[in-house]
Every structure is written in structure tokens, then in C-alpha cells.
């Protein structure tokens, strides 16, 4: 009997020890890896020139950090020592669907953080849910200023500056380079990004060139329409010579192809704030002399930048995907860098693997080295990044057979963003006090 009882006790003891060791192993495992959802367009019209390059950019940086092969200052292995296990997901299908998926990521897949999102509509939808579910979320590309101007967010960060700077830099470039053009119009997609982009371009033009006049017929076609025959006719008939556009995804390619054959670009000064990706997609077919932006010192405008981090990124990207990194590749990679920076900083401060709250506290107001410049999270309560934004004229490089840009002008963050705590619209209408432009 005694022996039997002894047996039973040993069994129970060994079983509980096994369970305990599993639990400890589990705890140790959590410090070995972080699971992060990376969301970008993988299907639909925005996949080709936006979603897929974005994913590729993220992949390169994640792999390099996991293996510890990234150049300085990110040459330590892992995120607070942990390897990142990314789960890539599709962003298409509208905000409501994305909100459902976001809940799945948090509750079903139990991710440690979420990174990505290209569409402003999706960011506006995800923002409140991320705060509600208390999930650290780093937006990479979306640009609507409403995200932080409507409300400060506790768990949401954005490593991409908002549309205000893109539009104001566009207006500055026009005023600097074409001071005699006083009439302007626009073609923008009818949703948060397009509406905001044109609104701030118009406000900026009014301030910088007070005698300029906006057309009363700016065009607002629906997102992802792909057919612009009527809009091109309307814009061609308009006497305004400057045409502002914040088209992105397949829309900018479709528009360019359809407008090109009608001689649109010979008659107009076309200003595209995000069209950089279409330039690569269309290659030598893309017309020269278009005022082109890439939403920051990235993509097309960063090809000649000699920053070692940038050279490494371009080299790795070419090697792995046989292509040049586009704007979104930089934007996603940059979010990963910011996450690593905050994780490492929080780890240093806490002395052990940081909790989510510690990472959030560490991420606020950081200044982190990106590929071409140091970016500071200086707006939106320390959650919103600002950086410089540039424009240039497209110029196909016949020798190197690559698209390029000339007459590039970069505008620093002090020139195109309001000081912290001021609403963009109020700041512009007040005459942009304190703006420092070179």
C-alpha cells in the first residue's frame, strides 16, 4: 500500500513539475519571440505598387534585425533581444472588415503589436479599436491628419507624417518653381486622404500666393475607379494650369496612361504627392517633367542619398527582389525600426523584457534614425512623426535605364507642419506663424 501511495505521490509530483517546467518554458518562450501583425494590401488594385513593396520592405528589415545583420545603429540582434515573428495580412475590403480582422489579431492570434495600414480610411477605423483593445499599433503609411487632430490616441503611433506636410510642400514647390502660375485645380480621390490633401493644398496656396485662385470644379472621383475620361476632359477645359493630385495605388497609373495619350501633361503642370510608385511601374513610359513627391525623403527621391543605411536598404532590396524600393517599402521598414528602437530603449530602462506599457512609454517622443534622416515623433502627444517632404521633376535616366528626379527640393518639418498642439487648419489660416523654410 505504502509503495502504491508513494507511487501516486511521485506521479503527481512529477506531473506537476512537468506542468511547471512547461509554464516556465512558456514564459521563457515569450521573451524569445514577439508576434506582430503586419497589414498591407496584398490583393486588389493597391497591392502591386503599394501593398507588396511595403511587405517586402518590412520583410528585409525584420529578417536583418532577427539575424543581427542590420548596419548601425540597429546592429543588435532582435527586438529587445526577441526575434520577430511577423504575420502578414491583407488590408483590402474596407474599414469594417479590417476592424473585424484587427479583433481577430488581438484576441485569436494574440499578437504583441500591430504594424502597417496604408489607407487613411482603415487607419481612422482601426485607431479607436486599437485604443479600446489596448493594442500597441504603429501605422506606417496612412496620412489623414484627422487621426490625431480629432483625438489623441493612447496606443496608436504613426511613423509617417500626415497629409498636411505633403500638401503644403507641394504648394511651396509650385510657388518656388512656378511663381507666375496663379490658377490651380485638383483631382483627388473622394475619401479622407484625397479630401484632406486637396483642402490643405488649397489653404496653403491661399497663404503662400494670396492672389492665386482655385478652380471651382476640382475633381473628386471615387477611390479605385480606374477610369478618368470625363475628369480628364473637365480638367483640360479648366483654365487652371496647375493640377494637384494625391492619387496613389493603381489609380495614378491608370490616370497617367489615360491622360498621357491626350497630351494632358504637355498642357498642365501636374503635381502628384504620392505618385512616386507609378514612376517605377511605368518606367520609361512615364512622362518627364511631372512634379513628383513621395511623401518624404524616400523611394524615387532617395535614390541618390548616400546615407549608409539607405545604401544598405537599396542594395538588399535589389538583391532579394530584383527591384528598387518604393516609398511604401521605406515607410513600412521605418515602422519596424521605430518599434525596435522603442523595444530596446524600454528594455534598457526596465532592465528586463519590457511590458507593452513600457514600450509605449518608451516610444513617445522618440527621435530615431531612419534611412535618410532622423525622424522625431514630435506631434500628436508624442505619437505622430514629422519629417521632411520633398518634390522634384521626373526625369528618366536613359543611361542607367532607371527613373529619376531632378530639381529636387526638400522642405524640413519646421516649414510644413504646425507646432505641437496646434490644429493644422488654424495654423495655416493664421499665416503659418513660426514656419522656418530654407
Amino acid at each position: 500500500m505504502e509503495i502504491k501511495i508513494f507511487n501516486k505521490t511521485t506521479k503527481i509530483a512529477s506531473a506537476s513539475m512537468l506542468v511547471a517546467s512547461c509554464l516556465f518554458a512558456g514564459a521563457a518562450m515569450a521573451k524569445d519571440s514577439v508576434k506582430v501583425g503586419v497589414v498591407s494590401f496584398l490583393t486588389g488594385p493597391a497591392a502591386g505598387v503599394f501593398g507588396v513593396p511595403a511587405k517586402q520592405g518590412a520583410q528585409i528589415v525584420i529578417d536583418a534585425i532577427n539575424n543581427g545583420t542590420m548596419p548601425a545603429p540597429y546592429n543588435t540582434q532582435g527586438f529587445a533581444g526577441a526575434k520577430m515573428n511577423p504575420v502578414f495580412s491583407d488590408e483590402s475590403g474596407g474599414g469594417t472588415k479590417q476592424v473585424g480582422l484587427f479583433r481577430d489579431f488581438v484576441e485569436k492570434q494574440k499578437v504583441d503589436a500591430m504594424i502597417g495600414y496604408i489607407s487613411s480610411g482603415n487607419c481612422m477605423a482601426i485607431g479607436p479599436i486599437a485604443d479600446e483593445l489596448k493594442m500597441l499599433t504603429v501605422f506606417s503609411t496612412c496620412g489623414t491628419p484627422r487621426l490625431y487632430e480629432e483625438k489623441l490616441r493612447s496606443h496608436v503611433f504613426r511613423t509617417q507624417a500626415n497629409a498636411v506636410g505633403d500638401s503644403l510642400a507641394a504648394a511651396r514647390y509650385i510657388v518656388d518653381m512656378y511663381p507666375n502660375e496663379k490658377n490651380y485645380t485638383g483631382i483627388n480621390q473622394n475619401y479622407a486622404w484625397g479630401q484632406d490633401s486637396y483642402k490643405f493644398f488649397e489653404l496653403g496656396m491661399k497663404q503662400m500666393s494670396p492672389d492665386s485662385k482655385g478652380s471651382d470644379k476640382p475633381q473628386f472621383p471615387k477611390l479605385f475607379v480606374g477610369q478618368y475620361g470625363t475628369e480628364i476632359s473637365a480638367l483640360s477645359l479648366d483654365k487652371a494650369k496647375v493640377v494637384h493630385s494625391s492619387f496613389w495605388n493603381g489609380d495614378i497609373e491608370a490616370f497617367t496612361l489615360q491622360a498621357m495619350v491626350r497630351g494632358f501633361f504637355q498642357k498642365k503642370i501636374f503635381v502628384s504627392s504620392v505618385g512616386g510608385s507609378a514612376v517605377d511601374a511605368l518606367g520609361k513610359k512615364f512622362p518627364d517633367g511631372i512634379v513628383m513627391g513621395t511623401r518624404g525623403n524616400v523611394g524615387l527621391l532617395a535614390r541618390d542619398n548616400k546615407d549608409p543605411l539607405n545604401l544598405w536598404f537599396i542594395g538588399e532590396y535589389k538583391k532579394r527582389f530584383n527591384a528598387l524600393p518604393l516609398g511604401p517599402s521605406y515607410q513600412y521598414a521605418r515602422s519596424i525600426l521605430a518599434y525596435k528602437f522603442a523595444m530596446d530603449k524600454a528594455m534598457k530602462k526596465a532592465g528586463k523584457f519590457p511590458t507593452q506599457d513600457q514600450v509605449i512609454a518608451a516610444m513617445k517622443n522618440i527621435k530615431f534614425k531612419s534611412f535618410t534622416e532622423t525622424i522625431s515623433m514630435a506631434r500628436g502627444g508624442g505619437h505622430q512623426a514629422v519629417h521632411s517632404v520633398g518634390y522634384g521633376l521626373t526625369k528618366y535616366n536613359k543611361k542607367g535605364k532607371t527613373p529619376g528626379a531632378e530639381k529636387v527640393k526638400m522642405y524640413g518639418p519646421e516649414c510644413i507642419y504646425p507646432p505641437a498642439g496646434t490644429k493644422s487648419e488654424d495654423w495655416i489660416n493664421a499665416g503659418m506663424p513660426g514656419a522656418k523654410c530654407k
Binding site: 502578414f88 491583407d90 469594417t96 473585424g100 480582422l101 481577430d104 480610411g121 481612422m124 485607431g127 473622394n190
Partner: protein, 320 residues
């Protein structure tokens, strides 16, 4: 109409199913499944409405009109009046969609078959166009919806789920009561021979109109609950034609044998979609489409026909 409704086998099965679902999801199943149940049950209400029309051989390709209308009613009432109470939200969604359905019913009740389907599609696309263009309605970005409250108290998602289940049970029982009434029995008669029904002294148009309004109310309620449980509305995922198509698809997938069928179908659809998205983020649409295709090929009577076969449930009823 409601006398003896609780002795009805379908009602008993429905209530048992819902209670089991609640108990399982609160005790055994992981949290994320509760979300899928919530979306499934909400959407199931709209499917129930479509099933109702289908029994008269009417297929609406525009039911997202009411689904989206209910959802936007909830969103706008929050934006302009600050209403977040879940009971009010559900009531507003149902009533708003019901009124719209009542008005449009005067036109739609005159049409059958493809004309009915296409006309309802046209109406839904009118609403879609309005919502996508109007900036104050959020345009294509839509609007976000704050978490629901109940009589001034905050509502956890657990309780929201129980409430949705409760709404679903109430709605489904009402529909069963309607189907057992004379008016309800008329529906299959209309399907067989409209002229004969007219000669019996009933107005076919009136019967269809009532049915249409009920169906609109259900779809509106579904949209309202969906908006409340998701926390976001936008025209592309609430009003666009592909949403109507999805609803019709789930209706076909579910089968129309029972009031429980739409809810089971909608829940299964949610799970298929969740896993398809997780396993193949680049080809999830193909998986969802393929599964639905397979169901139509191999189980033309829908999922409910399989359940009937397994439990031998339908037979006894026919004998009676």
C-alpha cells in the same frame, strides 16, 4: 399568433442551440470565437429576412440597402444625438429600415423574379452612391462607433453577445409565429399560384408588401447589431452590391428549411472567412468562393439539408 409557439419544435431547437452557444462561448471556447458568433448571429438576421422572401420565390440582390441603412442609422444617431444604448440602437435600426422598406415596398411589390432582384439592387446602389459622395456621412471612410451601453451602464462584449443572442431569439420566434399564421402560410401558396390566391380573396401584393417590410426590418436590425459589435460602418462593407451578393450567397448556403438555418450558415461563413484570411492572405477570396461552390455542388439544399439528414429531423414533421 403566438399561442403555443413554445411547443413548436423549431423554436425549441432554436432556443436550445442559442443557450448552448452562450454557455459554450462563455465557459469553454476562446474569446475570439465569441466575435465570430456575434457577427454570425447579427448577419443571420438579414439572412432570415432573405429566406422569408425566398419562400415566395423572390430573391433580393439589394438587401444591403436595409443592412447598411440600419448600420448608418445607428452611426448617425450616435453622431448627432449621442445615442449609444444597445436597446435603442437595435430599435432605431429596425424602425428606420422598416420605414424605408415600407416606402419602397409600394414599388417593389409589383415586380417578380429578375425584375425584383435588379430593382432592389438599383435602390441599394442609390444609397451607396449617396454615402460614398457625402463627406458629412464619412464618405467611403465611414464612421466609427463607440462601444454600446445598456441603460446608462457600460456593456462588456460578453453581455453584448448575450443581448444579441436574445434579440436573435426574439426575432426568430416572431418569424416562426408569422410563418405558422394564415398570412405566413400564404407565402408558399403565392409561390405556387398567385392567381389562385387572389381568387381565394387575399391580396397578393399586400401579403408580399408585409413580408418585404418584415424582411427589411430584419436586415436593418442585422446592420445595427453588426455596427454595434464591429465598431465601424462604411459603405463598402455595408451597402455595396457585393454585400448584397454575400447575403444571398449565405442564404443559398444555409438553405431555407428552418429558422435556425440562417444563423448556422452565417456562423459557418464567418469561420470559413476567418481561417481563409489567416491561412492565405493573398488568396482568401478563392477559398471562400471555392467552399461556397462546393456546398452548392454537393449539398444543393444547403447546410440545413445536411443537418436534417443527420438528425432525421425534417421527416417527422412531414409525417405529421
Amino acid at each position: 399568433m403566438f399561442t403555443g409557439i413554445f411547443k413548436d419544435t423549431s423554436v425549441r431547437i432554436l432556443i436550445t442551440f442559442m443557450i448552448v452557444l452562450c454557455v459554450l462561448s462563455s465557459l469553454v471556447l476562446p474569446d475570439w470565437m465569441q466575435n465570430n458568433f456575434m457577427y454570425g448571429l447579427s448577419r443571420g438576421l438579414a439572412i432570415l429576412g432573405l429566406m422569408l422572401l425566398w419562400r415566395t420565390n423572390l430573391v433580393s440582390f439589394g438587401h444591403a440597402l436595409y443592412y447598411g441603412f440600419g448600420a448608418y442609422a445607428v452611426a448617425l444617431c450616435q453622431k448627432y444625438f449621442g445615442i449609444t444604448d444597445i436597446l435603442l440602437r437595435f430599435a432605431i435600426a429596425v424602425i428606420a429600415a422598416g420605414i424605408l422598406g415600407f416606402c419602397l415596398g409600394f414599388i417593389l411589390r409589383k415586380y417578380r423574379e429578375i425584375f425584383f432582384a435588379m430593382l432592389s439592387l438599383a435602390f441599394s446602389m442609390v444609397l451607396y452612391g449617396l454615402l460614398a459622395k457625402a463627406e458629412f456621412l464619412g464618405s467611403t471612410d465611414g464612421m466609427s462607433i463607440s462601444p454600446s451601453t445598456l441603460l446608462g451602464m457600460e456593456l462588456t462584449r460578453q453581455y453584448l453577445f448575450y443581448l444579441i443572442t436574445f434579440f436573435v431569439i426574439c426575432a426568430a420566434i416572431s418569424i416562426q409565429a408569422y410563418l405558422r399564421s394564415t398570412l405566413g402560410h400564404l407565402t408558399t401558396a403565392i409561390q405556387d399560384n398567385e392567381i389562385r390566391v387572389e381568387y381565394l380573396g387575399y391580396s397578393v401584393q399586400k401579403a408580399i408588401h408585409i413580408k418585404y417590410v418584415m424582411s427589411a426590418c430584419l436586415a436593418g436590425g442585422a446592420g445595427g447589431l453588426m455596427a454595434a459589435s464591429l465598431g465601424q460602418v462604411d459603405p463598402d462593407s455595408m451597402v455595396n452590391w457585393n454585400v448584397s451578393g454575400e447575403l444571398v450567397f449565405i442564404t443559398i448556403m444555409s438553405g431555407w428549411g428552418n429558422i435556425l438555418a440562417p444563423f448556422i450558415g452565417a456562423i459557418i461563413f464567418e469561420f470559413i472567412r476567418t481561417y481563409a484570411f489567416e491561412w492565405a492572405p493573398q488568396a482568401w477570396a478563392a477559398i471562400v468562393g471555392g467552399t461556397l461552390l462546393a456546398i452548392i455542388f454537393f449539398f444543393p439544399g444547403g447546410i440545413w439539408s445536411v443537418i436534417e439528414k443527420v438528425f432525421n429531423y425534417g421527416k417527422k414533421k412531414n409525417v405529421k
